[in-house]
């Protein structure tokens, strides 16, 4: 009845640009869920010393339940997951993914949809396009890329979308005049941005200057699982000390040590799991405690929150 993780098999890998690989994932047992445009999955990768969890947009047709597609750009910076996906994963390998979740859905009430993609930020829009076309919606795609380096899919998009496609190759000095897009917008137009932080920030501040309401601007905000630093939690009354790893929640660690904590939502809203804090500094990540309660530092929600100090002494 409830699906936690899905095991998928990597059935194809394609190098679509020098730094971008596309993975086709097929289901191992049941069929895959259909999903809504803009959805992502969290892929769990079992590295040698640690488990990586990265969120990737689904870029296949939302109605296609035979396979999911994701594209992974090799990041130069520390995120180990992309290196793992590029260097370790081979066709035939199994991966664990979460069911699709959506933090970046189209506003179907919009009169017109303007999609602005930077580089690999094209991925969520790949799932928008089939549905926009099925619904006969008014839309255009503006694709900003750096030559062949990040310009995967440009030829097929140009062909498929025709006059609704606008490409800008920064290597060729081509620039997208976003201020003009804003100035010439029709009433009821919604803008969607996915790409590097700098692009999103730039578009947001331009929108502000041009008087585009914030409600008409959408950008991808990943709710990637939030690991943290390892720490220890001590139960005051019993003196039992439980280590909490970087990739697990305090609640999970306590449960693994067979210490029962009442809980319902496991998402920081229901208030069931609240524990009293006797010692230690808390990193609050819940929506349950009020600002004043958080500041007081005497209560913690172990399902999501963590410790800033090395040890937290609590009472259940």
């Amino acid at each position: 009845m409830s699906g936690d993780q899905i095991t998928v098999v990597v059935s194809a890998i394609e190098q679509v640009a020098p730094s971008i690989r596309e993975f086709t994932l097929t289901s191992k047992d049941a069929t895959l869920y259909p999903f809504s445009p803009g959805s992502h999955v969290v892929v769990e990768m079992q590295g040698e010393s640690k488990t990586y969890k990265n969120a990737y947009s689904l870029m296949s047709d939302p109605w296609d339940t035979d396979a999911y597609k994701i594209a992974v750009r090799l990041q130069d910076s520390s995120r180990g997951g992309s290196i793992y996906m590029h260097e370790q994963v081979e066709v035939g390998d199994e991966l664990k993914i979460t069911p699709p979740a959506n933090m970046f859905a189209p506003e179907w009430g919009a009169k017109k949809h303007v999609l602005i993609a930077g580089g690999v930020g094209i991925t969520p829009f790949m799932s928008y396009l089939p549905e926009l076309m099925r619904r006969d919606a008014d839309f255009e795609l503006h694709y900003l890329y750096r030559g062949n380096n990040t310009g995967a899919y440009k030829a097929e998009l140009a062909q498929e979308l025709g006059a609704r496609y606008f490409g800008y190759d920064s290597v060729q000095g081509e620039k997208c005049d976003i201020a003009t897009l804003f100035a010439e917008r029709l009433l009821g137009t919604h803008f969607y941005i996915c790409g590097p932080e700098s692009l999103i920030e730039g578009v947001k501040s331009l929108a502000d200057e041009c008087g585009v309401p914030a409600s008409a601007i959408h950008y991808e905000e990943f709710a990637a699982p939030q690991p943290g630093m390892p720490f220890e939690v001590e139960i005051k009354s019993t003196g039992v000390v439980v280590p909490v790893g970087a990739e697990e929640s305090m609640l999970e660690a306590l449960e693994a040590a067979e210490i029962e904590v009442p809980n319902l939502c496991r998402g920081g809203v229901c208030g069931q799991c609240v524990c009293q804090v006797e010692e230690g500094e808390i990193e609050h990540r819940d929506h349950f405690l009020s600002g004043a309660e958080k500041a007081a530092g005497t209560a913690v929600m172990p399902c999501v929150s963590r410790a800033k100090s090395k040890r937290l002494v609590i009472e259940i």
Binding site: F35, S36, W63, P99, C265, G271
Partner: protein, 339 residues
């Protein structure tokens, strides 16, 4: 043992509705503690309570299936607007059809059969003697609009909430057994708007937290909560639209008949993310149990006495219990002598 659907009983006029001993035993009693306060009482909708429990399956079909479907058709005949779906909810309606048909066919293969050949689907409901073939996603291939088609075969009310701007909007539903609220009135409203009349919970931040939780619910991870109120006689349709038929019944309660007249009305609410549309499906499965039947379980009788005695005045008022609340407490006190 699961309870099998039985012959049609009524939720109006002569009120022939009864609960069998098995139905009493599996009743989702809503009070985990001696006092009741509003809270964000949500938990994952995973099986609980073993075989035959109301929490065993995604959708609970019980002995009242035929009676409730009959009652629904009576309501819709008089008031077709008790079912509505805004145009942009069509895809969500199909998500709902898939979710409900697939789970019914899996959970109750003796009653429901689904055969899918690509988009050509054949659905058989043996309880209602329905067999239809249609094209998935094409509303013109169903004998009636998708929400109504599915809703007429499901126990409990259903709403579909469109998710946008970080909020939920009540844009579709089939609501024929509401606890005093109106779909026509609430249609198009946001989460905090349609919850407007509820006392205490807004200022306690309950709805704010609940909404954050709901908008993050993922596909395949449904959650449930219980809500409750009281109803005089086993009346399913306590809607504002029919208030003139039931409002006055509150004055008919006496110390002599309180046990049989007053029903505890429990709603098992399930929230489930719809995959294609990103909408939320909200199902409200209503269970009615007379106080007489409740007190056949001594634990329930005691617990309920304590809950009723300590119920905050704003809740007594909002739930419409004012006229007979005292009689309920007096009646229950005989089963809780220590208190």
């Amino acid at each position: 043992m699961r309870v099998a659907p039985k012959e049609i009983q009524t939720f109006r006029d002569d009120f022939t509705y009864t609960n069998s001993p098995e139905a009493i035993q599996r009743f989702p009693f809503p009070f985990p503690e001696d006092d009741y306060r509003y809270s964000v009482n949500m938990e994952p909708h995973t099986p609980k309570g073993g075989e035959g429990s109301a929490y065993e399956k995604f959708l609970d079909i019980d002995e009242h299936y035929l009676s409730e479907m009959k009652e629904r058709s009576l309501v819709l005949k008089d008031m077709p607007h008790r079912c509505l779906a805004m145009e942009h909810m069509d895809l969500a309606c199909w998500d709902m059809i898939e979710r409900c048909m697939v789970s019914l066919a899996e959970d109750y293969p003796e009653h429901f059969v689904l055969e899918c050949d690509g988009d050509n689907w054949t659905w058989e409901n043996k309880l209602l003697d329905i067999k239809d073939t249609f094209v998935f996603g094409d509303s013109s291939t169903l004998p009636m609009p998708p929400m109504e088609y599915m809703g007429r075969q499901l126990q409990g009310d259903f709403a579909l909430l469109d998710q946008r701007e970080g909020d939920l909007f009540l844009d579709a539903g089939i609501i024929t057994c509401p606890a005093d609220w109106s779909l026509a009135f609430d249609a198009g409203m946001s989460f905090s708007e349609w919850h407007g009349p509820v006392p205490m919970a807004h200022s306690e931040g309950i709805f704010e937290r609940a909404l954050k939780y709901l908008t993050a619910i993922q596909v395949g991870k449904p959650v449930r909560r219980l809500n409750w109120t009281m109803t005089i006689n086993a009346r399913m349709d306590t809607s504002p639209e029919t208030y003139h038929e039931w409002g006055h019944e509150r004055t008919s309660v006496t110390p002599e008949n309180v046990g049989e007249k007053v029903y505890l009305r429990v709603e098992l609410q399930v929230l489930d993310r719809m995959p294609r549309s990103n909408a939320m499906m909200f199902s409200i499965r209503t269970y009615l149990m007379s106080l007489e039947d409740i007190v056949s379980n001594p634990e329930w009788a005691k617990r309920m006495h304590r809950v009723m005695k300590t119920l905050p005045a704003p809740l007594i008022d909002y739930k419409g219990l004012t006229r007979y609340h005292g009689m309920v407490v007096d009646y229950l006190s005989q089963f809780d002598k220590a208190n």
